[in-house]
Each structure stands twice: as structure tokens, then as C-alpha cells.
């Protein structure tokens, strides 16, 4: 189901009387935990040979430095048995330049850090193309913002999940399932106060698995858009599909997924 923040209304209402202030709250610091951001993306029309996996550790909440992990062994295995080794570059990035993407094929990830072995398995998810893009200048929730709709046609025969990335100054993620839109032409929706005429926006549609959709669902509920207060959702641990085979308790954050991507550049009129 497409989800919307129904309580935006409430927040708008409270906006009239409420007051926001940055405050100093001391926080506890948890033991660092491994984070594996393994998103293999293959943009339609490219060879998809260069892929990056990022490995870091969690940091105290107010810290600004990245805690990169430079000493990991990172490999991805294709269904055929082919092996792709990712080599360390910088800032936690591991790169492979000979990757061979194949849709609907299964791949597995193996990461070894400090003697502990982490693995995950996922299928390469295909995606339909973006049909066209529509812009409305008096749209959005307030009726005053620019809104962008990227239309696509959902295949009726399959149960599909989509991730949209709207890359302007910041990255906005939207994700959808087709339970209520199966077989229809429908759109990815992007509207914020910050969109201005002349902005160059990269719009990506990505095919994702059901399990990754569920992961994003929990992830989003934990991220900044959460206003807190009575309508806050409960905090959750965002566990991905990567399992620590050596010590299961010491699970990593992040996800291993492979998505086909259709990308379009759009200049806001």
C-alpha cells in the first residue's frame, strides 16, 4: 500500500502553536557494529561492470567522522560460480570493475572482517521503464509546492516492489508495492518545498525484492522524518539480510541487494 504521512495535517495544525528548539541531550554510546551497504545497481543501457560496496562501523550519534573499515575481504559469487572480488579504495568503499550483472540470477555476498564471516544471498531484480514525467506547480500536500510524478506501468502477472530515488540536492527515497495498483499505470511521487524551477533532478526507478521492501519500510520508520510525539512509531532494530556466520549475535547492519535501474534526468520547468 502506498503510505502517506497522515499526520502531516496534525503537525500543520500544531505548527500554529508549537515551538521547536535544538537542545543538548547527552546520549549513551553503544559498541560499534559493522555496516555493510552492498547495493549492486545496473542502470539500463550500461554494462553495469563497475560496482561499489561500502563497509563502515556505527559511530556515536553526534560524531561526524565516518568509521571506515579498510581491512575487509569482500567477494560476490554469481550463480554460475563466478567470483568477483571487491578491492578497497577509500572511505570504506570496495570496488569491482569486472562485474557481470544478470537479471533474475542469484548472487551471494561474503565479507570477512576481523576473522568473522558475513554472508547474504539475493536475486537480481528487474524493473520496468519510466514512461514519462509529469510536473504540477500547485501540488503537494499544501497545494503550493511543485510536484513531480514519474509514471510507470506495473506488470499484472507479477508481485512487484519498487524503489524510487529522486536525487536533487538531497536524495529522497520512495518505495511502493503493487497490492492496490497491480497492472496499472501509476507513478512515483516527489514533492518537497525545496524543488525550484531549473533544478536538475535525477529520477531512478529500481526493482527490489519483497524482503528489501520490508527492510526499507522499517528503515524509513526510524529515520529523521519521524517527528516523535504521540504518533511516533516504535523504535525498531533495522536488521538486514546479511548474517554473521561466526557469531550470530554480532549481526551487521545494511543489506545486500541487486537492482536493475531505469534513470531519467529531468529539468524542473
Amino acid at each position: 500500500m502506498r503510505r502517506f504521512n497522515f499526520y502531516i495535517v496534525f503537525i500543520i495544525f500544531l505548527g500554529l502553536i508549537s515551538c521547536e528548539e535544538v537542545v543538548d541531550i547527552p546520549l549513551e554510546e553503544a559498541q560499534p557494529r559493522l555496516v555493510i551497504d552492498a547495493s549492486i545497481e545496473w542502470i539500463k543501457g550500461t554494462d553495469g561492470k563497475q560496482q561499489t560496496i561500502r563497509i563502515t562501523k556505527t559511530t556515536p550519534f553526534y560524531d561526524e567522522e565516518l568509521n571506515a573499515v579498510p581491512n575487509a575481504e569482500v567477494k560476490v559469487y554469481a550463480e554460475s560460480g563466478e567470483e568477483f572480488t571487491f578491492n578497497y579504495d577509500q572511505a570504506g568503499m570496495y570496488i569491482n570493475t569486472n562485474f557481470i550483472p544478470e537479471l533474475n540470477k542469484t548472487y551471494s555476498l561474503e565479507v570477512i572482517v576481523d576473522g568473522e564471516i558475513y554472508t547474504a544471498t539475493e536475486t537480481f531484480q528487474p524493473v520496468v521503464e519510466i514512461d514519462y514525467i509529469e510536473q504540477l506547480n500547485n501540488g503537494g500536500f499544501s497545494g503550493e509546492d511543485i510536484e513531480i510524478k514519474a509514471f510507470y506501468t506495473d506488470p499484472a502477472a507479477t508481485e512487484d516492489y519498487y524503489l524510487f530515488e529522486f536525487i536533487n540536492e538531497d536524495v529522497t527515497l520512495e518505495f511502493y508495492e503493487d497490492e492496490f495498483t497491480n497492472g496499472n499505470q501509476i507513478f512515483g511521487y516527489y514533492s518537497t518545498e525545496d524543488i525550484e524551477s531549473g533544478d536538475a533532478i535525477e529520477i531512478q526507478i529500481q526493482g527490489i525484492s519483497k524482503s528489501y521492501y520490508e527492510f526499507l519500510f522499517i528503515l524509513r520508520s526510524q529515520v529523521g522524518t519521524n517527528q516523535g510525539g504521540p504518533f511516533e512509531t516504535m523504535p525498531a532494530t533495522v536488521k538486514g539480510n546479511i548474517v554473521n556466520r561466526t557469531n550470530q549475535e554480532n549481526y551487521p547492519f545494511g543489506y545486500f541487494r541487486l537492482s536493475e535501474v531505469d534513470s531519467m534526468n529531468y529539468i524542473v520547468e
Binding site: 497545494g143 539480510n241 547492519f253
Partner: protein, 795 residues
């Protein structure tokens, strides 16, 4: 409870009854009747009818009826009620007699006003405990935010009652959840008690006669919710003369009319209330609006001394409209027909037929669909009050409720919409109960109230009942350590006439009181209760969108056991009273939600919930000053409210690693001081001070970056606290002198909420600053200092 134990309970119960019927000795005569207000014929609830020589008495029931059996003789009778002039009369009882009393409102000139103008003195003899009453006049004089008099917000000033912060909906009683309160308006269940997401409650104070909150020791006549009962009675309307009253406030205005249909026999009452902030928005060319309105109506007709008909209705709606793109409407509708009948002088009965409906609708033009959901129920109940003798009264009755749940229907707004029509499967249930309850004076020192309720719930057939792999609607992935929706093996339909799951529960209730002396008593109570409906809500406080789900094959009814003990004392000839209570309660089958549970438009809620338990314990102190120019109370609660959801097997982590965690509304300390000072006939001043431990919340203890997004990592659930909450409110009521000798009465209420402008945290959220990319904590505070003015009138 096992069967054997149940049978033993029943046997004991019957034995007591039998013993009781044997105590009949000399011939008794019945004195009965109704007690009402002399100026309006409005029946009065809870009036004390005392026979000092016989050392006995009776209290009027919720329809103003009393009945007592006494041996032949001449008796002095004293009738007293808060805010009214007491009556003393001598009655010769040599045959069964019916005497209706009319009480005169205490006139403003009399010194007694000061004595009776506040909360009633404490009844230390009755076993009834853990009960709070507030008179409408007290509620109306309390300082409140925006000057809007509010029933629920006033209750929060009493011990054991709290909420999940300013602007949250509903209220929490003794560490129970919002959906565990049974809220009755003229005996009809109200499913959502809040307007504007919780800023106001749905009850128009002008239309209310009386209210009572049971926090524990709940009598057997109530059931279906485990935490508390808030019983609210609407006024019948004046059957003597036509009257109007109303008020103009900052947010809303009220108007109420009442009068006779047939003088002294039939009356009507109609009261409306509406907010109008949206009208100002319209003036400023703002297309957004947020408003609410409600309508209370009542017709009552007295056929004869033994028969009375009452028809009451309530209709309320909240409407939000954001630039034609988004429209949201929700509210309750209730219709209730009742027939009071006195069978013989000692049996009073009430038959009710109640229809109640909660609707939630959403219209999202910019996405292209409408959403409708709701819950309807039809309730038939028949209640008997049986006055056996002056030491023994029985209440018994039967209740049946039929529920229809519409979890949601999605409709595309037009053909171009990309949304397909979808109807979530309707669910049906039937809830029944029989109960018997005795109020029994065992000796001069001991009184008891005990009863038994047998409740029964049928989840009825529906379309698309799922069967799951391993019969588990929630699956667990031991490798990843996460829960997910279970795999559906098969889906089938069962006729609505058939039950797919039945539950039966015995709910024993008991309370005893022991009089230490004339001014002190000890009381203790126990009650077990079952709740078959669950509000599906995964936010800190419920939202209007949340749907109710019935128990069934997988979701079990919540079962509560509560114990309470208390010490009660009247001091300085009832000028002061003190109540100290301790309570412990345990609730089984409290559901919680797996991480990532999608509750919106979910056809099979059982796939995202796990059964857990909750418990709460604490101590409450209420010290009141009931007399003099200065009246008021100090209320303090020390308590703990927790929840736990263990895994279903040893390998599963459950929720929060199976550990106990604080509930969202847990507050260790909750103190409020409420006072009222009557300076003279013109001016009355009120002040509230509130101090509470900050609400439980969860702060992050780490962060990481994923796909360009900063993700916080949270620690133990509800293991942190918001800063302490405190504020001071003041108000003054001006009743102009010129009121005295005329029909038109008016008053002004001036209030200041949060006088020292404390920025209380509504929430602390954590985010990445979009300019500096630095993580920061942000405190959102809702109500700073808010002045208000309200004008009230009556004629």
C-alpha cells in the same frame, strides 16, 4: 481459571444468596420513589437517603430511583446532595409507600453553598473504592488550555489518571492503555473520546449531568474493557420550563436548549458545540481547515410513576481539509432508547437498545482514492436493581452486543486513478454477558460488594479466513533474527451465522470495607475482567485512523486481574478527606507489533502481532479540602506500567529481547494540586499545579550511513525519559452582581494556561540538520503560555 475453581466460586455465591434470604424476619415495608431537581425535574444520581435512627440508608441509582425496605415505624429521613439544600422529613411507614422528593438548588446567599460547592465528601462506609467523581460545576471552574472546559482533561488531575502527553488522545488509568477504558455516554460505548487528535474530548460539558470513573473494584455490571469505566450521563432536559445556556470561547462555542414537551412529564434537550478556528483561516484566504462539531440530544417522557422512556443521541465529527487535496472526517454517532420500569416497589429495571457507530473517512485527491473504515455495534441490555432489604441489594442483568467491523475500503476517485478498488474483509462478532452483583452490609463494621460476570464472545464467520504454515500467522527467521508475516497456505469462507472461535470467561468481582470508626475505613477489592476487542495501534498514542480488531483464532482476549487496598479517612468533621490506595494489575494477552508491522489496510492483523502481557502497580494519594472558601485537592501517584512480549519459543527474541519495557504513558511521579478560592459572590479564583516525570521514550545510541541516509540506532525500548513536565495554570470566574434578580445569568472566565511559559517537551526527536549535516536533538513543545477568555450564559 479452571472449571473446578469456577464451580466453587458459583457455589459460594449461591450459598451467600441463600443465607441472605433466610435473614427475613419481621414484616418489612418498602419506601421508594425518585429524587429530582425542583426547578427542572432533572433526576439526581447518587443522592443520599439516610435514616439516622435505623442507622441505614440508600443511594439513588443512575435514574434517580431509590427503594428501601424497613420495619414498620416512624422514621426521620435526611436527604442530602451536593449543591442542594438538604431535606429532613418524618415518615410514617405502616404500608408500602412511594415518595418522590424534590431538592432545591442551594441558593447563592446561603453559607452552605461554600460547604457543598465542591466535590462530594467521602463515603467511607460503602465498599466502593478506586472511584473518582467530579461534579460538572467543578469541571467548569478548572483552568484549562484555551479556556475550553473538558471532561477528560479534568480527570487527568485525579490520582491514577494520566495521558501520553499534551495533545495525545484519550487517557490512561492506572497504567492501562487508552483502548482499555470503557467509555459510556448514556450507556452507549464511545470508541473515540477525542476531538482534534486529542486536544479536546467529545463530551459537551453543558449536556452532562454526572460522571463517574471506576479505576478498580469495578462492579459486575460493567465489562468488555479491562482498565477502567468512565460512565457519563447526559441530562434529561428541563420538564418545567424552557431554558437556554451556552458559552463563547476561544476555540469553540456551545448552545443548549431544553424544555418541556408535556409539562412535568416529557422534556427535550438539544445541545450543539462547534469549533470555529477554520473560519478565521477562511478569512485569511487559507484553504486549509480543521474543525469539529457535536450534537447531544435527549427526549424523555414519564408515562407514569413506574414507566419512563428515554431517547438519547450523540453525533460528533472532526473534519480536516487541506487545500482540497486531502479531506479527513471521523467521529462517533450514538442512538439509544431506554425504558425504565418499576416492576414491584423493590425491582427497578432498565431496558436499553443502543446503536453506536464510529466512522473514519479519508479522501486523498492527489493520489486518487477514498478510504472508509469503521465499527458499528448494536447492543441490547436489560438491567435489574433489586432492593431486597436495607442490608442487601442485588443487581443483575443481561447484555448482548453485535459488532460489525469495517477495516477499510479503498475506492478510486475516478477512472484515471491508478488505484484499484479494494475492500478489506468485514469482520463480525457477538459479545454476551450475564451478571449478578450484590451490595451487602454484613455488620455494622463490614460491608461488601461482590458479584460474578459470565462473558462470552463469538467471533463469527467471514470471507477469506487464512490458514498458515505451522498454524503460525507470524513467521520467524532464525538466521536473520526477524519476524515477518506468516505464509498463507489456504483461504476459506465461513458463513456469518457460524462461530469460528468462542471464548467464555468467568469474571469474579469483590470489594469489602471495614469501618475502623466513624471517620476511618479500610477497603480492599479484586476484579477480573475480559476484553475482546483490541485497538490496533503502533504509535505512542492512538490515532483516529487506528482500527479495532476482534479477538479470534489467533488474537486472544485480554484478561485482567486487579487487586487494590485502600485507607479512607474523613478529618475535622469532613472538612478534609484522605484516600490512600495501592494497586497491582496484571493483563494477559496484551498484543504488541513486530518490527515493520504494516497496520494500515492490513486484512490479517494476526500476521503482525504477538501476544504479550502487561502489568502496572502503584500508590495513589488524594487529599481534599471539601469546605470553606478555599477548597481543592492534592493528588499524587507513584506508579509503574510495563509491557513484555516474549518469543513463542526459546530461540525467538520476542520484542525488546523479551525484556519488560516501560509503556508509553508510564510516569513514575504524577502530582497535581488543584485549588479554588471563593473571594466573594463576584469572584472565584482557581489554580492548578502539575508536576510529572517525563514520558518514557527511546533515544539513539549510535548512527550509521546507509545509501546516503543517516540512520539512528536505538537502544532499549522506552529506556529513556523526556525532561520533567510541569506547569501552573490560573483562572478567575467573574459572576456580575446584576445577575441576582433576573433570569439571564452570565459569567466570564479568564484563564492563563502554563503561566510561567515552561517549554515542556512534547517530543525529543533526532535528525540530521539539513544545512550543517550535523546530527542534533530537537525538542518540540506544544503549549507555552496561553491566555483565554470564555463567556457563559444561561436563561
Amino acid at each position: 481459571m479452571n472449571k473446578k475453581l469456577t464451580i466453587r466460586y458459583l457455589a459460594l455465591f449461591l450459598l451467600i444468596l441463600l443465607f441472605q434470604t433466610q435473614t427475613y424476619g419481621q414484616e418489612l415495608f418498602t419506601l421508594n420513589g425518585t429524587i429530582s431537581d425542583a426547578s427542572s425535574n432533572e433526576t439526581l444520581i447518587g443522592v443520599n437517603v439516610i435514616f439516622p435512627e435505623a442507622n441505614t440508608g440508600v443511594v439513588t441509582n443512575t435514574y434517580g430511583y431509590y427503594s428501601i425496605k424497613l420495619p414498620e415505624g416512624e422514621y426521620k429521613v435526611q436527604i442530602s446532595y451536593l449543591g442542594y439544600q438538604p431535606i429532613q422529613q418524618t415518615i410514617n411507614l405502616s404500608e408500602d409507600r412511594k415518595i418522590n422528593f424534590e431538592l432545591q438548588e442551594a441558593s447563592e446567599n446561603l453559607e452552605e453553598v461554600l460547604i457543598t460547592s465542591d466535590i462530594e465528601g467521602l463515603n467511607i462506609r460503602k465498599p466502593e473504592m478506586s472511584v473518582n467523581k467530579l461534579s460538572i460545576s467543578t469541571i467548569q471552574s478548572l483552568p484549562v488550555v484555551f479556556g475550553e472546559v473538558d471532561v477528560v482533561k479534568s480527570l487527568l488531575l485525579l490520582p491514577g489518571v494520566s495521558n501520553a502527553g499534551e495533545g495525545s488522545s484519550g487517557f490512561n488509568v492506572r497504567g492501562g492503555a487508552v483502548d482499555q477504558n470503557l467509555i459510556l455516554l448514556d450507556e452507549a460505548t464511545i470508541f473515540n473520546s477525542s476531538h482534534l487528535f486529542g486536544l479536546f474530548s467529545v463530551f459537551n460539558p453543558d449536556a452532562i449531568k454526572d460522571l463517574k470513573l471506576y479505576k478498580g473494584g469495578i462492579p459486575a455490571e460493567y465489562g468488555g474493557r479491562v482498565s477502567s469505566v468512565l460512565d457519563i450521563y447526559q441530562r434529561d432536559g428541563n420538564s418545567k420550563e424552557f431554558k437556554m445556556q451556552g458559552g463563547i470561547g476561544a476555540i469553540s462555542s456551545r448552545l443548549l436548549a431544553e424544555g418541556p414537551i408535556v409539562k412535568d412529564k416529557g422534556s427535550f434537550l438539544i445541545g450543539g458545540r462547534s469549533s470555529y478556528a477554520h473560519l478565521f483561516l477562511k478569512l485569511t484566504d487559507n484553504e486549509n481547515s480543521a474543525y469539529f462539531y457535536d450534537l447531544n440530544t435527549k427526549l424523555s417522557y414519564k408515562l407514569d410513576d413506574s414507566n419512563k422512556l428515554l431517547l438519547s443521541g450523540y453525533f460528533g465529527r472532526d473534519v480536516f481539509n487541506i487545500s482540497q487535496n486531502f479531506e479527513n472526517t471521523y467521529g462517533n454517532a450514538v442512538l439509544n432508547l431506554r425504558w425504565n420500569h418499576v416492576f414491584s416497589d423493590d425491582i427497578f429495571t432498565n431496558l436499553s437498545a443502543i446503536y453506536s457507530d464510529y466512522y473514519y473517512g479519508l479522501n486523498l485527491n492527489f493520489v486518487g482514492f477514498n478510504w472508509d473504515s469503521g465499527i458499528k455495534n448494536l447492543n441490547l441490555k436489560y438491567d435489574f436493581n433489586h432492593y431486597i432489604n436495607d442490608d442487601f441489594q442485588l443487581k443483575y442483568g443481561i447484555q448482548n452486543t453485535y459488532y460489525e467491523f469495517n477495516p477499510g475500503e479503498i475506492e478510486p476517485i475516478d477512472e484515471t486513478s491508478g488505484i484499484n478498488y479494494y475492500k478489506l474483509i468485514n469482520k463480525y462478532a457477538f459479545e454476551n454477558a450475564v451478571y449478578i452483583s450484590a451490595e451487602h452490609r454484613l455488620s455494622d463494621k463490614f460491608s461488601a460488594e461482590y458479584g460474578l460476570r459470565l462473558s462470552n464472545f463469538f467471533r463469527l464467520g467471514q470471507d477469506e479466513i487464512n490458514s498458515y504454515a505451522n498454524n503460525q500467522p507470524v513467521a520467524y527467521d532464525p538466521e536473520r533474527g526477524i519476524y515477518s508475516e506468516g505464509e498463507i497456505l489456504d483461504s476459506y469462507s465461513v458463513s456469518r451465522n457460524k462461530s469460528i472461535k468462542a471464548y467464555n470467561n468467568f469474571e469474579p468481582r469483590a470489594a469489602v470495607s471495614y469501618m475502623i470508626n466513624d471517620s476511618q475505613s479500610l477497603k480492599a477489592s479484586y476484579n477480573r475482567m475480559a476484553q475482546y476487542l483490541h485497538l490496533i495501534s503502533n504509535t505512542s498514542s492512538p490515532t483516529p485512523l487506528d482500527v479495532w480488531a476482534p479477538s479470534g483464532q489467533y488474537i486472544k482476549p485480554q484478561i485482567l486481574d486487579q487487586f487494590a487496598i485502600g485507607y479512607f479517612r474523613n478529618m475535622s468533621d469532613r472538612e478534609y478527606s484522605l484516600e490512600v490506595e495501592g494497586f497491582y494489575k496484571q493483563i494477559d494477552n496484551r498484543i504488541d507489533y513486530i518490527d515493520g508491522a504494516n497496520l494500515i489496510a492490513n486484512d490479517a492483523i494476526e500476521r503482525v502481532v504477538l501476544n504479550g502481557e502487561s502489568r502496572a502497580y502503584g500508590m495513589e494519594v488524594l487529599l481534599r479540602k471539601n469546605e470553606g472558601r478555599l477548597t481543592g485537592w492534592l493528588s499524587y501517584t507513584l506508579s509503574k506500567s510495563e509491557q513484555r512480549t516474549p518469543g513463542r519459543s526459546a530461540i525467538e527474541p520476542g520484542i525488546n529481547n523479551s525484556d519488560w519495557y516501560n509503556s508509553n504513558y508510564d510516569k513514575t511521579h504524577d502530582l497535581s494540586i488543584t485549588s479554588s478560592y471563593e473571594l466573594n459572590d463576584k469572584w472565584q479564583f482557581n489554580a492548578n499545579f502539575i508536576f510529572q516525570t517525563g514520558l518514557a521514550t527511546t533515544f539513539p545510541n549510535a548512527q550509521y550511513e546507509y545509501q546516503g541516509i543517516t540512520v539512528p540506532v536505538y537502544g532499549e525500548r522506552n529506556g529513556d525519559r523526556l525532561p520533567e513536565y510541569h506547569r501552573l495554570d490560573l483562572s478567575a470566574t467573574l459572576t456580575p452582581k446584576k445577575n441576582k434578580n433576573r433570569d439571564f445569568q452570565s459569567s466570564w472566565n479568564f484563564g492563563i494556561y502554563n503561566v510561567y511559559n515552561r517549554q515542556n517537551a512534547y517530543s525529543i526527536s533526532f535528525r540530521e540538520n539539513s544545512d550543517t549535516n550535523q546530527n542534533e536533538a530537537v525538542r518540540l513543545s506544544l503549549f507555552g503560555i496561553i491566555p483565554s477568555i470564555t463567556y457563559n450564559f444561561k436563561f
